[in-house]
Amino acid sequence: MLGLAPLGQAAADEFDKSVAALRAVGGEGQGNTAAGQALQRLAKGGADTLPALLAGMDGANLFAANYLRGAVEVIAGNTLAKGGELPLVELGEFLLNRSHDAKSRALAFELIARVDAEAAEQLIPGFLGDPSVDLRREAVARLLGQADGLAKVGNKPAAVLLYRQALDAARDLDQIKSISGALRELGRKVNLTLHFGFLVDWQMAGPFHNKDRAGFESVFGPEKNAELSASYDGMDGKVKWQGYSTDDEYGMVDFNKPYGDLKEVTGYAQTEFVSGINRPAELRLGCKNAWKIWLNGELVFGRDEYHRGMRIDQYKLPVQLKKGGNAILIKACQNEQVEDWTVQWQFQLRVCDATGTAIHSATKKNREVAAQ
């Protein structure tokens, strides 16, 4: 029951049944027919059903969330077009309840902002640590504006503190760059590697071949035995694991540095990530080479695309970390292209939660860096 008892039990049951049909939609269009019919029924509801429709998104898959959004958009649009009102208090209460899905809460905020911009503005400061990255962004933007204002009038100490507060909350790259730039202009140090949680200490093994791009599917030694003491038959003889630490601010791990600017090659990198608890996390990878990634010996994902672009958090891979050491192994393949923009043979990886908040490996070194 999604809280529509005032409609009458039969109507509430019908509502729940329709929402259930949307939540049952699966891949490849499974359940689309029933969902389409259910959506037509739900879209006939009044504005008072909006909070319940938003609640229907809790724990739903993305297909269902979008179907429900379809109903929300139609009801809100029709209500406003006819001069009706949206249930602002209920939407606000929904928004403020952080146990609801982040997307649906952000949608509730959008509805509130559509009809009462002033009320929406007043809610923004409360979003600073919000699980919704969209809501959090609003609060960071507000803080950033205030800090800029203080910096402009020469109140450096207050500006620095506001920038620090904003940086702590910021999860979007553009905001992080703005804030860190401002702090550095004010003479303060910023450790972006730590903020993002990029993994910087690795062991590398290579090169192996990638002739005709066959290396992606080939199973080389490190995939069979990743012991640091192991040696393998590489492209030009025996290869062993060798230590590599990157000092790149954005954690770029560059195979060209130890091996030279090679083509048609495959390299491996591994590291250990120490988690204090068993927990869900995301491995977030940026890579413009073909790659595969394993966690504790299990293949997480792989992709055979070359030189189509790279960015931070390009791939978000949900995983389960176990308490203690977690072995991360990455394979990166370089292809045969010779253009200037195909030189890169590299990746960047961080571990974070679903909001993009860095999870740091519980190593002594990390604790020392964080304390600085």
């Binding site: 891949g27 689309n32 027919t33 993305l62 958009e73 649009g77 992709r303």
Partner: protein, 404 residues
């Protein structure tokens, strides 16, 4: 503003779209040619911009027009993950409805393109909109969601870090989605009522931004012509089976144009393939390296073929022989494909400059220009005496004022 006598029948008519509607990428025939007459030629912003409105998001997909409604897609948000479908009143530019959905696939793309790069398609009753994230939405023309698909959720390696751009087409009553990329590359025929796969065929593992063309093969049947780096595959849209294959390679950016039973393929310059009426075979008619198109797709009008290269040179060739007839330098570069109406070619460059070429002049003649002042990368829509063109931030209706 329609010609009284139409020289062809739009297949879409049977489905609800009317003559004069602009129903998909490069129009109802997919070749950028309109039978509209009376469009403005000597363009003048004060006289000919009927309306201009801000769009809530970015995009370079083409607008569609059904009756008095203009449909356009866009994307917004920090991560460009808010996918928008907007319906606009063609008469006055007012927004009739707007829908927004969350992207389910990747929203990474090159800065120059957009998540709203592919053009939607309509049968006049339903609107099908796909985005670079491989998310596909079917709505009725009043904005009611009918069904959706998230094809990168279904097939996780179906994505392109530079962005996807192939537009949807309808062929033989089947909705065709090209999801062709370096990894999990496929084209799917979908049931347009439910969105489920009727078939899904592996395609060359290579990024591809072209849009398919559709050949009518008699008794209402149609053949799907899929272009890729491997050439052209003629495919039965009912089951995905390959009927024939032109295997001499083709571009992965400009799309082919079909006119008079001949397919003009961006392949080794431009290659003309004469298609059998029954759709079962083809034979090469001519090939010309001098007619090589750049990003914009070639156009065929009457007995002339036109291509725009990346330097902004418009080249006119003879459709019968492929012989180059004349060249005219326009101000480029062009990211969007031009259209032809009433023997005039309308091209919008990336600086936002509209250029109208009088094709009846012996060597072409620039007959009109107008600066919209914003980057234009879409192919315009032509409908009911008006052109519709969009930038990343706006959409314009361009028509003689007597339209209003």
């Amino acid at each position: 503003m329609k010609k009284i006598l139409l020289t062809f029948t739009f297949a879409a008519l049977a489905n609800g779209a009317a003559a004069g509607d602009w129903t998909g990428f490069r129009g109802p025939l997919g070749n950028g040619v309109s039978d509209e007459v009376g469009l403005p030629v000597a363009l003048n912003a004060k006289k000919h911009i009927s309306w201009r409105i801000d769009l809530p998001g970015r995009g370079l997909s083409s607008p569609l027009v059904v009756g008095n409604r203009v449909f356009v897609t866009a994307s917004a948000g920090t991560r460009q993950d808010q996918l928008q479908i907007i319906c606009i009143n063609a008469a006055d530019g007012s927004v009739i409805w707007q829908r927004q959905f969350w992207a389910m696939g990747s929203t990474m793309c090159h800065n120059k393109t957009s998540i709203a790069a592919p053009t939607p398609v309509t049968d006049g009753r339903l609107l099908f909109a796909i985005f670079s994230s491989n998310d596909l939405f079917c709505l009725d023309l009043d904005g009611n969601l009918q069904w959706l698909r998230g094809m990168t959720l279904d097939y996780p390696n179906a994505r392109n870090s530079l962005g996807m751009a192939s537009s949807l087409v309808l062929a033989g009553g089947v909705l065709v989605a090209q999801v062709e990329n370096d990894s999990e590359s496929f084209t799917a025929g979908l049931d347009k009522q439910t969105g489920v796969n009727l078939w899904r065929a592996d395609r060359p593992k290579s990024a591809n931004w072209t849009t398919a063309t559709v050949q009518k093969i008699g008794s209402g049947a149609e053949m799907l012509l899929l272009q890729s780096g491997d050439g052209i595959h003629a495919v039965n849209p009912k089951n995905g089976e390959v009927v024939w294959h032109y295997a001499d390679g083709a571009s992965t950016i400009p799309s082919s144009a079909l006119a008079g039973g001949v397919l003009y393929v961006p392949s080794h310059g431009l290659t003309a393939l004469e298609l059998a009426d029954d759709g079962r075979s083809f034979k090469q008619k001519w090939r010309s390296s001098r007619l090589r198109p750049g990003t914009a797709s070639p156009l065929v009008h009457r007995d002339r073929v036109y291509s725009l290269n990346n330097a902004g040179v418009l080249t006119c060739g003879d459709t019968d022989s492929g012989k180059r007839l004349w060249q005219l330098r326009l101000d480029g570069p062009f990211g969007g494909s031009p259209v032809v109406a009433d023997n005039h070619l309308y091209a919008f460059n990336e600086e936002g400059k509209a250029q109208v070429v009088d094709l009846s002049a012996p060597e072409g003649r620039i007959a009109g220009e107008m600066d919209l002042g914003e980057m234009i990368q879409c192919s315009p829509a032509v409908s009911n005496g008006a052109l519709y063109v969009r930038s990343n931030g706006r959409i314009w209706k361009i028509a003689r004022k007597t339209q209003l």
